[in-house]
Assembly symmetry: C2
Homo-oligomer: 229 residues x 2
DNA sequence: CTATGCTAATTTGGATCCAATGTTCCCTCG
DNA sequence: CGAGGGAACATTGGATCCAAATTAGCATAG
């Protein structure tokens, strides 16, 4: 599962233009280049992408179905803003879904995958900037689900990550780096359980990891004030 | 939550043509008119719908993102076939997600909603044909989630129902009507817990209901052989 | 008689053009 | 001076046209 493939939120290597545009826009939204509430004009995208508006329109329909954009007839597309309640429920969904994905994945992970996860965690523990941390953390978690062979489940998980990416960044910026220490410990416990192929234990650690993040997040309502003026 | 609105899998009353076509195709797939493995030709749909191919193309992108169709460049769209494992995992997802949606929903349900649910259950208990039963059962369950105000969660639930609709029909046809008795009892227990606003109990009954259906389903592998020759 | 390769027809993908709707800005009237 | 209306502009939605790719059918050679 390459980073590129993850972004597409589906395993198919469908490289029609609509999908390339969708990937481009998805990346722009995930990177924060396009923030919540911001509008997306079809012609701008078409021009920047060097194509006509048609593939852009199809791409916007895809993103709409993924929940990454909202549409109003004759008004266009914008990135939706989430409320604290929305975000909290999304974390509750993750808390129930991702352990399942993990259990589905663990039997299919190779020893090599596990070594790669270990290397990733070492890079996470190095003192990097926030953006690099976010990217690595995302890569780490999604990689633990690499072995999950059920497309619909992996897709759902990736989409949950996608729709919260912006708020995760805002959260990291205000919550300080004290949490990184906790996160690393939790990752280590998770990795240990995975190396023992102990699904039950791994599920428990993962659910706790997500639940604690949600709790911490709920203490920072200022995350919602900043980027949507 | 009207039946029509449910089908769209999102609360927005976005009645652009692409969405009307998407609704039309979705209904055709759910009703079994278009079965797994079957191909969808753009021009056919456009003609039958009295529009050009463009809205159809956008609609197909939407359905693709919803997992209701697969696409290959220059080959077109088809309804994907699910394996027994896929279906089983989808039921495991439902077993974890729907109880959450129920808990989110229960506090927001009016007394009137509950009475309506009761009437629905009475209609389910009447001895109807399979297709009517499937429609009513779907309406019943989705109605229990009416109070869930988190779009992403309701959307996920509806899509899980959508992607399994065809196999649920096939299952009912082979499993005989003995199960209906069990289903009715489980629905009654669920309704009772909901009327007491006991989320914990309701979650337990719902999870059990879904789990037992999955178990029963796994005893009927012939469901996958029939409709996809 | 079968297999392979070429050609023609079908179907999807993309671009441009036109129509419908929404928005903005300015002018006029109270 | 402010509010309301209208016209010009900007943006999205839909239809038709053309190009690219795949598939199917046929002919020919082994």
């Amino acid at each position: 599962m390459t980073t590129e493939a993850e972004q597409t939120a589906n395993g198919s290597r469908n490289h029609a233009a609509s999908h390339r545009v969708a990937d481009y826009l998805r990346a722009a939204i995930l990177s924060g280049e396009i923030g919540p509430g911001e509008r997306i004009r079809q012609e701008d995208v078409a021009e920047r992408f060097g194509a006509s508006r048609l593939p852009v329109r199809e791409a916007l329909r895809i993103l709409e179905a993924e929940g990454l954009t909202e549409h109003e007839p004759h008004k266009g597309a914008r990135v939706p803003s989430l409320s604290m309640r929305d975000l909290s429920v999304i974390y509750q969904i993750r808390e129930r879904l991702e352990p399942l994905a993990l259990t589905e994945s663990i039997p299919n992970l190779s020893e090599n995958d596990l070594r790669e996860l270990d290397r990733l965690q070492q890079r996470i523990e190095a003192d990097t900037g926030i953006d690099e941390f976010l990217a690595l953390d995302r890569e780490f978690h999604l990689m633990t689900y690499t072995g999950c062979r059920v497309d619909q489940l992996s897709m759902m998980v990736v989409r949950l990550w996608n729709s919260t990416q912006h708020y995760r960044r805002a959260f990291m910026k205000v919550s300080g780096s004290g949490r990184r220490w906790v996160i690393n410990a939790e990752h280590r416990l998770l990795l240990d359980a995975m190396e023992r192929r102990d699904s039950v234990d791994a599920e428990r650690h993962l659910a706790g990891h997500i639940r604690r993040t949600r709790t911490e997040l709920s203490r920072h309502p200022e995350v919602f004030g900043g980027p949507t003026p």
